[in-house]
Subunit: 136 residues, 2 copies
Amino acid sequence: MPQLAGSVFVPQGHTAEGCATVREVLGRVGDKWSVLVIGMLGAGTHRFSELQRSIEGISQRMLTLTLRQLERDGLVERTVYPTIPPRVEYTLTPLGCTLLEPVMALAGWAETHRSDIETARRTFDTRRSTNGHSAL
Amino acid sequence: MPQLAGSVFVPQGHTAEGCATVREVLGRVGDKWSVLVIGMLGAGTHRFSELQRSIEGISQRMLTLTLRQLERDGLVERTVYPTIPPRVEYTLTPLGCTLLEPVMALAGWAETHRSDIETARRTFDTRRSTNGHSAL
């Protein structure tokens, strides 16, 4: 097993507040919908309606909230063009672009190991139900 | 801005069920607590109480749930030693080890860009309150 010299999560000399922010940042950028939105914007600028069509299963409210949080974090830029009706476009900021590589690596892992995980889940659930335990 | 030839999220020829699983896997492995638990176990085998002490802010219930889900996904192995009281240890499986690299890359990004994100949030919140809008 790979051994890590230390944990990046509790860096020496950092404040509790700093660690909390790292946890919060992880919670945000590792969020399922954020990852999908960042992935879509990694392919180029998109309008709200294009994102909603492309990200299967996301509600209008959840997409609005995800984009707002990514904008607040400085990862996504929202541009309103004064047309009739107004055109609103979303694009990755330079900071958002730096997040593409680790996010795409995580998405690639999920795609590569999807069937391993499905198999593990079936095995786990079968063992649990055979033993008379609930799945959770 | 980096351009991606295609999205890994909606791979050609995959079923809707397959895409849903990738989203679900992303939701799981990108979850804040999962990332922290995987990071801790990347440094070696740990007991429940050690994980709880090291991961600031996690409740007993949330750690139990996170470990159970990681075990179900085949990422973590739980071993019970028949001592009095029983000793329960958690370790990454070989599949879990393959997840370490992308997860650590994401955690490293969060640590590196923590202050950029804090600055962006302050700017966003100030602009919002100046404009008389709510922060969300």
